[in-house]
Symmetry: C2
Subunit: 245 residues, 2 copies
DNA sequence: TAGTGGTCTAGACCACTTT
DNA sequence: AAGTGGTCTAGACCACTAT
């Protein structure tokens, strides 16, 4: 009987947490199994590695957040495919995704008119003026990738929805119908965690790290076009941009 | 005695996880307490909200990852100050941080020479050629903000360290000493989780969501200058950039 | 019905800080 | 010595999926 066994429930406290050792072992296992493979059940893996299920779950949880694993309740946990990398550009993601060989689509969640309120400043309108709010789930190959909330001045774009398929490119539609050129934008990027509602819409877990992108676009005259709040699944996508000076 | 009490260890399963309800309650508490305030101890809060300590900890953990709380082992948990927002630009963060009224500094962790290996492609050198690797912790107001690994061709910048204070701006030093102009860069942005080593260096928790920025910079002739891997604490900093088309 | 991942409880020991 | 956050265990019930 080893010292550790005698200690019973007491963990051996080295510098590296036990779950991280398990995570490393799992990473090796994933490499062996290969993309798309089904992982053994959590209870079996915990027994195999000699840890409690919740310790095993911490390791699995991190690999899931990083995009290495994908869990489905009732079915099992699978080895995931690599992240998409999307260019950070003025236009929406339609063309970029197509160029990478994926099929972009969208699902309309919310369509409403609201008083601009605190959005008034960004959109250079009066707080009492109305804005059009579109909330859409962005999908790649029919899998949720992000959640996009767009706010446009209703005075200028109020009839936007008339005869438009909301599963298509909003960028293209606005540019064509209103003869608007997206000339510049300011974009803010940070990490946040998904709320339960967002997690459900994106078919992921709450507490999944997300990339939050908040953009204000303007036309060639510097007049604001829209304010967009995009929440992207951090396990599924990254971005690339080009800097010059 | 309520129905819930009779059910004992069984949670009431609504759509919203219990820890998320607690998280919302905590957010209200934080607003009342104000920046810098000390939170009650976890065991007390758990009792006050009527949940197990690990459930309370999940709520606290999310607020910590989001930058709303800061935990110190043995001392307590405090209400944090807001995130920094740094411009995404070619130059390093020195001037940007100064402009925002903060004090930038760095701590040298690693200085070594290595064969370029897989970095050779990015740096347009031979895999057998050596690169200089500098690993530094970036600090703002003496608090760790990020971990930066820079790889430069040793053939061109090998004497970089001679008479240079590694806590100063590398960008400024390279530009001045070698008469190099940082003309362009490609930057990749994604979310990752901190490893235990990174978490320790950044004085944060493992599993903290981080912003990983990977950059290759080139001079006006398109010759690669450096490859930089920067890992920023997602709870402490965000970025802003300007897009044009 | 059996099995899977998701959530929660209760209790323990650890490393660290303050008194 | 006492108190704090960090990690781990063992066991339970839930919602969902496949058979």
């Amino acid at each position: 009987m080893t010292v550790d066994a005698v200690r019973g429930g007491v963990p051996e406290h080295g510098r590296v947490p036990k779950y991280y050792t398990v995570k490393t072992q799992l990473q090796n296992l994933l490499a062996e199994l290969g993309e798309g493979a089904l992982l053994p059940a959590e209870r079996d893996l915990a027994a195999a590695y000699g840890v409690a299920r919740s310790t095993l779950r911490q390791a699995i949880s991190e690999l899931t957040m990083e995009g290495r694993l994908r869990a489905h309740r009732g079915r099992g946990t699978f080895v995931a495919s690599p992240k998409l990398i999307q260019p950070l550009s003025l236009s929406s993601y339609t063309e970029a995704l197509r160029e990478m060989g994926h099929v972009p689509s969208r699902r309309l969640i919310t369509e409403e008119r609201l008083p601009a309120g605190s959005l008034a400043g960004d959109l250079a309108i009066d707080p009492a003026d109305e804005v059009l709010h579109l909330e859409r789930v962005l999908l790649a190959d029919d899998e949720p990738l992000g959640l996009e909330s767009t706010y446009l001045p209703a005075g200028r774009f109020g009839d936007l929805m008339d005869g438009w398929d909301a599963t298509g490119s909003l960028y293209r539609h606005v540019a064509d119908r209103y003869q608007v050129r997206y000339a510049q934008a300011t974009e803010r990027i940070e990490t946040v965690l998904a709320s339960p509602r967002e997690a459900q819409l994106l078919n992921t877990n709450p507490a999944q790290p997300m990339l939050l992108m908040q953009r204000v676009s303007a036309d060639q005259d510097g007049v604001p076009i829209e304010r967009v709040r995009s929440l992207y699944r951090g396990d599924r996508i990254g971005f690339v941009t080009r800097l010059t000076g």
